[in-house]
Amino acid sequence: MNGMIEPIVGRYLHVDIDGEMCRIYFEESGAGIPLVCLHTAGSDGRQWRHLLADEEFAKHFRIIAFDMPWHGKSNPPASWDGTEYQLTTARYTQTIRAFCKALQLDKPVVMGCSIGGRIVLNLAIDHAAEFRALIGLEGADFQAPWYDTSWLNRPDVHGGEVCAALVSGLMAPQSPANARAETLWAYKQGGPGVFKGDLYFYRVDGDLRGRVERIDTKVCPLFLLTGEYDFSCTPEDTERTAAAIAGASVTIMEQLGHFPMSENPEQFRRYISPVLDRIVALEAERAGQR
């Protein structure tokens, strides 16, 4: 519709991450329960634009998506000297907690996809009381590698092309062509080595096997949703992870892959809507008990 302005608003927030001030770009819409959305490795917050623009969800949630430093419109920190970027479990956890603290969010819901789906498990292990609920999309405690990440950052291979080509097959064949192309566009635009650096967390530093058993879903409800076409984090990986966590909710999403919120927003809505409804209901129950 010509002239339509979406309800999404973008701003910059200065966030102290481990003693270093970072200028972080975030977008938000709606009002109510804070819902912080984490993008996948090598991409940025644009993946959440359909959720952010959803008028029904915005009635109950203040939906927030931020670009991690080095991603999207969040530049590297001013102190960066060009050293190869590497995301660690500690750094990722600090970034999310620092962002929520800087925005003064009251027990937000955090929903992450892929590396975001993995880190919410770490939030559930170590910081559950800080969150109202946690949602992991395409998340597991560990999954088997399926390619050598050194291909992602070398001068004789086009970084954007190879990053996008590698993840292109993670989407479901039923997902609309325009949404698939848009999902890949962010991969084509990523900074050199950023996708690879994020995968350091995924492949090397963020193995949560043997730790997820500590998650107490009575402290913080945990919802895990994985697309049937995701061969990186497979449904079996998610189901195995959930089996070790008492009370974790698991949904395998049909006709979706590794990027549910951006590769097929309508199909994803069918699955995430009941989860968000459940969180609203839990909140109402809690309010009634107070």
Binding site: A144, W146, V162, A165, G169, F231
Partner: protein, 138 residues
């Protein structure tokens, strides 16, 4: 090998042999591979093809084995895997070349540089029979 798998092999081999013609009808894909000159070995494990690519166009396709012929990389999969891969909406795990390698249905070997620098090109070239395969099988 029973007659059913023989028939599958024959259909897959025939579909592979049609890829150069399908590629010729897809100029955007040829343009995507315009910097690619390469000798590779592609196709079903039992009957792979030696493929010569020049500027993104397949200029020669020869059924293996060919005595002492070199190739830089190979991508070979089971006939069943290709039959699944070429369905209009392939099943999960059979919908991508690297999904097939992860599940052990395909093998990627050799010098992977030309494959990785043109990864989307090879994915799209090897998916070309998808448009016609289901019709051919039925």
């Amino acid at each position: 090998m029973n007659s059913v798998s023989n028939a599958t092999d024959a259909i897959i081999t025939e579909a592979f042999a049609n890829i150069p013609a399908l590629l010729d009808q897809t100029p955007a894909l040829i343009a995507r591979g315009r910097f690619l000159d390469c000798e590779c070995l592609l196709g079903p494990e039992s009957h792979a093809f030696h493929v010569s690519i020049r500027q993104g166009r397949i200029v020669e396709l020869t059924l293996s084995p060919v005595l002492m012929r070199s190739w830089r990389f190979s991508y070979r999969a089971s006939a069943t895997a290709f039959a699944e891969y070429w369905q209009p909406a392939p099943r999960p795990g059979f919908h991508d070349l690297l999904a097939l390698t992860k599940r052990g249905e395909a093998t990627l070997e050799g010098d992977l540089h030309p494959f990785m620098t043109n990864l989307q090109y090879f994915k799209d070239v090897l998916a070309l029979p998808r448009r016609h395969f289901a019709t051919a099988v039925s």
